[in-house]
Amino acid sequence: MAVRKSERLLNLIVMLLETSQPVTAEQIHRTIPGYGQDSWDTFKRMFERDKEELREMGIPVELSSVDSWDTEQGYRIPKDRYYLPDLDLAPDEVAALWLAAGLLRMSDPGPARTALMKLTEGAPPPTEGNLSWLTADLGLTAPNLTVALDSVAARKKVTFSYRSKDAVRTRLVEPYGLTQRRGKWYLVGHDENSDEIRSFRLDRVEGTIRLTHPSRPGPEFEIPEGFTLQGYMERPPFVQGAVPEKATVRFDPSTAWWVERSSPWLRLEHHDDLSATAVLEVTDDSGFISWLLGFGEGAEVMQPQRLRDLTRKRLEEICG
């Protein structure tokens, strides 16, 4: 970023922030030094890049109508979205934020540092209560995490190319939420191709995630009532929509405690000998058997006989 460009960007921010009504591209071209000498096409290219860079820095550039007849569109930076509201943090809240930032283990702590700078302006880090024995890697360096978060927060449609089991395909997704699981970040949303809610692991996205309409203000879709991230991520791995069949599974004492911890969606009935049974709904036989066998000798499906037979068949296949 050359000095001239820094100046141009700064002037662009000031102009868009201080204007009382949206300014057109033409006005910007005429007004801000550094855009003026070039041709209109050059200006357009520079301006597009500049807008993109501002957005990457978290500066909201909005496109809206200049007048009520909707004849012309203009840009502005809404003040309420640009400025940090007055938070008036208490000293113990500041200390908590420093601690929270301090335990992150990451290659680039830059954003955590600048966040603290904005929030705790003037306040130094606390000298006490430093948790030197604690460190957390939360996978926050996942590619595209920021743009994914943007899209979720603003409810903007995104498109990206995604590597799944068999192929790389372009997806168009209405992002409903963002969630971390086992150190990986997932974008959960409505996938236009399959017309289903799907989760997309960010490290399987090839290239970048793009908003389909970055300048258009306002949300582009509604999240269905009743959808929760928690509910979506915790659904059993083998329920996929069809009519379920009830299966009874027994877990021996060495496994029952673990099932209780690792499969919170399962309702367990505990027995005196520390074993446990659960009745669960199965629609995907093969997924269910994989899940069951993942417990090794610690789990057995008791009913129905059909699933017992299928499990035996799978095991015999393994024996060869």
Binding site: L97, L104, E121, L134, T135, A154, D309, C319
Partner: protein, 309 residues
């Protein structure tokens, strides 16, 4: 290139700071933003050319160093800091969630997290889940780390699937790949070990003190995958449908075969977890070597099949 971008981002922080602390000393400002005096001068010089459209004397920002003091004027529109970017907010939020998982309910932290939501684009964090587990045992482990006390663990390892009783001196707690790990000195093996907190079936705090060695260095633990002495190299072929396996375990190598299957090599300490993985994968995995693993898998599958006969 990146440096200049960083510089611009810094400028957007520096200007509001100076505007709110006009007359601050050069040293103060330089220290706060970790820059040199000449970098500060360069930043201020850049501001000279900026301001409101018109760009006349009354429009441009005034920025200068007077004696030892830093001044910026005519830039009221920058006197409040910017909102947090989503990335900034997410970092602090995620760190806060990790802290909450370990520390339990803390009113100051909860209030700070609420304020954090206010500082971001409205709604940004509502639809984000950091999804951290907070097993009961975590609180006990944390207490022992704070008070430097020895712990007794009943531990069921995932890799060997055996239950052991151990006394350990806790050194540190790590969150990695969504799981909590305790780094500790284990008196049963007289060596350093890493324990998964969610595999602790029982934790008891003992009265013995548990000092942390002076040269203990937490940053040494980039990975919780520890190479144990008895680790062996395992080669598997994985069906294309099961390629998620390649993302979940640290591999020595990975190559796609002519038929589309994937040949992977990995190091494994205990093989109980591998056996279970292979049972789960069924026909979607084949053991290439070692032969002993294939035999064990077959014998486990056979004895399981007998239950269903």
């Amino acid at each position: 290139m990146a440096d200049l971008e960083d510089r611009f981002r810094r400028l957007l922080l520096l200007v509001p700071y100076v505007l709110r602390h006009n007359g601050a000393t050069v040293d103060e400002v330089c220290e706060r933003f970790a820059i040199t005096r000449s970098e500060l001068v360069a930043d201020l010089n850049l501001l000279f050319m900026c301001g409101l459209p018109g760009y006349g004397p009354g429009d441009l920002i005034e920025a200068y160093i007077d004696g030892d003091q830093v001044w910026i004027r005519m830039a009221d529109y920058f006197s409040r800091p910017m909102r947090l970017t989503p990335a900034e907010g997410l970092m602090l939020y995620a760190g806060g969630q990790a802290l909450a998982a370990v520390s339990g309910p803390d009113p100051a932290l909860e209030r700070a997290m609420e304020r954090l939501s206010d500082a971001l684009t409205p709604g940004a964090l509502e639809r984000v889940s950091v999804g951290l587990e907070s097993p009961q045992e975590l609180a006990m482990v944390k207490e022992a780390l704070e008070s430097h006390r020895r712990l007794h663990l009943t531990y069921q390892s995932q890799s060997k699937d055996e239950i052991t009783e151990r006394d350990v001196d806790p050194w540190a707690l790590l969150l990695s790949e969504g799981r909590w790990y305790l780094v500790a000195y284990c008196h049963r093996v007289n060596d350093e070990r890493i324990f998964r907190v969610d595999r602790m079936r029982r934790v008891v705090q003992l009265s013995e003190p548990a000092p942390v060695p002076g040269d203990f260095d937490l940053s040494r633990y980039d990975s919780v995958y520890f190479e144990s002495a008895e680790a062996t190299t395992v080669t598997l072929d994985i069906a294309p449908r099961a390629n998620w396996v390649c993302d979940y375990y640290p591999l020595l190598s990975q190559e796609t075969l002519d038929d589309g299957w994937i040949r992977i090599r990995l190091r494994a300490g205990g093989t109980a977890w591998l056996e279970r993985l292979l049972l789960r994968l069924g026909p979607e995995a084949r053991v290439i070597e070692p032969e002993s693993l294939r035999q064990r898998l077959t014998s486990t599958a056979r004895s399981l099949a007998a239950r269903y006969a």
